[in-house]
């Protein structure tokens, strides 16, 4: 209670629960909706909002120049995510709405809909039951900065904005081959996307306004407008090149739309590094501990420290060390628990490496409640491991460690007296690698959310990959 003399200790279960259930994000979304709508009865509003449970429903805007394939991508995404597609055409085609009828008249005369009417139509559509439940994808709206601001003002905010881009020449050429199926509204192309059924082929008509001049005119207007729309969506915008096969664009769009953005939720990293001997675990752990003030917990080191301190655990472990036998799991677990329960580990987070080495150890750790929230597997091919380990040497006089390839000794005098640690001998390394790989598949299955990283690169590149894995939210698997 008294935070003036003794700091509060927040139990780790609370932060684990908060992370797993995304409490922060739930509260943040609720607060956003409250502020946008400012209802007279906030409690009723909150109850309804929670019951809807639509925080993660797709809310996407797809923008791009004519002939970039926007509508195709939008339709594919709709089908895949089971969401609703909103375009200018289908908004004004709405029946039983005077607003839509007025918009239609305007469109027939001027070929565009006034922004006010368009935004009103969008507002009505988005508040309908199916959009609330399954989300929406806006295709080609907003067209101008004015529209973007108006949509924002009424409280419609997308979570992902995709902008397709391609060089103008490609687009003009592409537009010439555009064909439309009048019955289904699907867009085909003479070169890239020709329908296989001959009856569709016969039906296809050439759409209006695809001559080079007209396309160039539309492109000019598009470029003028899109630049001013970018600043409205700073962190959620992604530009995808449309100058590649449709399938590639689609998959890039799909993966992007399914990622969550980084949130401000409090996050204590509990990182587990797995990999064979020589994959760089200790180095990466040391780098992480230094940069993010995490506690570096190396299992082997812990045991050696216990023996050196002659603590009560140390005395039990010592005979195993003397006989060169593996220390039993339960004993390791006890030493590890003691370390992980200390205040600095709980508060700052930890980086663990060297444990667990097989499924039983992993299960034991999990049952005691030490669940890492990021797991990394460092993959290094056998030859690289051999190179890294068998060339290690130590100078017996100064104690300095060298590597014959990466950090060679400066003088031949030192080189002559260098010795190799028997643990770095080739046979020993081979043995340890085999042991690791035997258990690796089970471990990978157990830690389903683990990220695999190529460890065969320079340490700082690997470090950057690990960093981005920790900082970004865990990716969801694309089905």
């Amino acid at each position: 209670m008294d935070a003036t003399t003794a700091p509060h200790h927040i139990p780790p279960e609370m932060s684990q629960y908060g992370e797993e259930n995304h409490i922060f994000e739930i509260m943040q979304n609720m607060l956003e909706q409250l502020l946008i709508h400012q209802p007279k009865d906030p409690i009723l509003f909150m109850i309804n909002h929670l019951q809807l449970d639509n925080d993660n429903v797709p809310k996407i805007v797809i923008l791009g120049p004519p002939a970039s394939g926007k509508t195709t991508i939008a339709m594919w995404l709709c089908k895949h995510l089971n969401s609703n597609l909103l375009t200018v055409e289908n908004l004004i085609a709405k029946e039983f709405s005077s607003l839509a009828a007025a918009a239609r008249k305007h469109y027939q005369i001027n070929k565009r809909v006034p922004s006010m009417q368009l935004v009103r139509l969008i507002q009505d559509r988005v508040s309908e039951e199916d959009c609330v439940r399954r989300g929406w994808i806006l295709d080609g709206i907003p067209e101008t900065r004015e529209q973007a601001l108006m949509i924002q003002t009424v409280g419609i905010t997308p979570r992902h904005v995709i902008v397709l881009s391609a060089p103008d020449t490609v687009l003009i050429e592409r537009n010439l081959g555009k064909r439309i199926d009048p019955q289904t509204g699907e867009i085909y192309h003479t070169t890239f996307d020709w329908p296989s059924e001959s009856e569709i082929q016969d039906r296809l008509i050439v759409p209006v306004g695809i001559s080079e001049l007209e396309t160039a005119g539309k492109l000019l207007e598009y470029h003028r407008n899109i630049v001013r729309i970018f600043p409205s969506y700073p962190k959620i915008l992604k530009v995808i090149s449309a100058d590649q096969p449709c399938v590639d664009v689609f998959y890039q769009a799909l993966t992007y739309v399914q990622t969550n953005h980084r949130s401000n939720a409090p996050f204590t990293p509990r990182v587990l590094l797995c990999g064979p001997m020589g994959s760089g675990k200790s180095l990466q752990a040391a780098l992480l501990a230094q940069k993010y003030s995490l506690v570096n917990v190396c299992c082997g080191q812990l045991l050696k420290e216990a023996v050196a301190d002659k603590s009560k655990f140390g005395e039990v472990i010592q005979p195993f060390f003397e006989k060169d036998m593996a220390v039993p799991d339960s004993l390791i677990m006890k030493v590890l628990s003691e370390r992980l329960n200390q205040q600095d580990c709980i508060q700052k987070g930890w980086v663990l490496h060297g444990f667990p080495r097989d499924l039983d150890q992993a299960l034991m750790m999990d049952s005691l409640g030490y669940k890492p929230n990021r797991v990394f597997f460092l993959n290094v091919p056998f030859d690289s491991v051999l190179e890294r380990l068998t060339l290690r040497r130590t100078d017996p006089i100064t104690g300095e460690r060298y590597h014959l390839m990466y950090k060679p000794p400066p003088t031949t005098e030192i080189q002559d007296r260098l010795l190799q640690n028997p643990k770095d001998a080739e046979e020993h390394v081979k043995l340890k690698m085999d042991l690791f790989y035997r258990n690796a598949t089970e471990l990978e299955e157990f830690y389903g959310q683990a990220l695999t990283i190529n460890g065969d690169q320079d340490p700082y590149t690997v470090f950057e990959y690990i960093e981005s894995g920790i900082i970004n939210p865990l990716p969801q698997k694309v089905p």
Binding site: M1, D2, A3, T4, E13, M14, Y17, G18, N21, I23, I26, M27, M30, L31, L34, L35, Q38, P42, I43, L44, M46, I47, L50, Q51, D53
Partner: protein, 150 residues
């Protein structure tokens, strides 16, 4: 931009008028303390209870009731003198959400006793009740009655 500024002000006024931040803080604390399996359903249940409490004026079981206040006092008064220091008193009020960080409280030089602490907590809770639920409502009266029970 003027338009942006006034909307922001509107939003802030809205938050203050309905005490949204305190409510969200309370909800988050309850969730993290109880850690239910299904956080959404639990939140809905609490909000329903709150709604009923508001409508019927029945006292809502806030996180801290009077036995908690006495326990809190004991925790701060580690030497069992019967009083706590002014700094501790102010920190405790902040923790309970009953005073803001820059409010200046009168320090009359005497240490704060349990009775003074309790009466101040009650007074402030009543004020908040009065602001959000209306002065004549039942929960205010219940809150005012409670000191008499001790």
């Amino acid at each position: 931009m003027e338009a942006g500024g006034s909307r922001e002000r509107e939003a802030r006024n809205y938050l203050e008028k309905h005490q949204i931040m305190e409510l969200l803080k309370y909800l988050t604390s309850v969730l993290l303390f109880i850690r239910p399996e299904k956080p959404r359903e639990y939140l809905i249940a609490i909000l329903e209870k709150l709604r009923i409490a508001k409508a019927t004026g029945v006292a809502f079981p806030f996180f801290m009731d009077h036995s908690n206040i006495a326990a809190m006092f004991d925790m701060m008064d580690s030497s069992k003198k019967g009083t706590i220091s002014f700094v501790q008193y102010k920190e405790a009020l902040k923790t309970l959400g009953l005073c803001t960080a820059d409010e200046v409280l009168k320090d009359d030089g005497h240490a704060i006793t349990l009775d003074k602490f309790k009466s101040e907590v009650n007074k402030r809770t009543q004020e908040i009740c009065g602001r959000t639920k209306g002065k004549g409502s039942g929960s205010c009266q219940t809150a005012a009655e409670q000191p008499r029970l001790h």
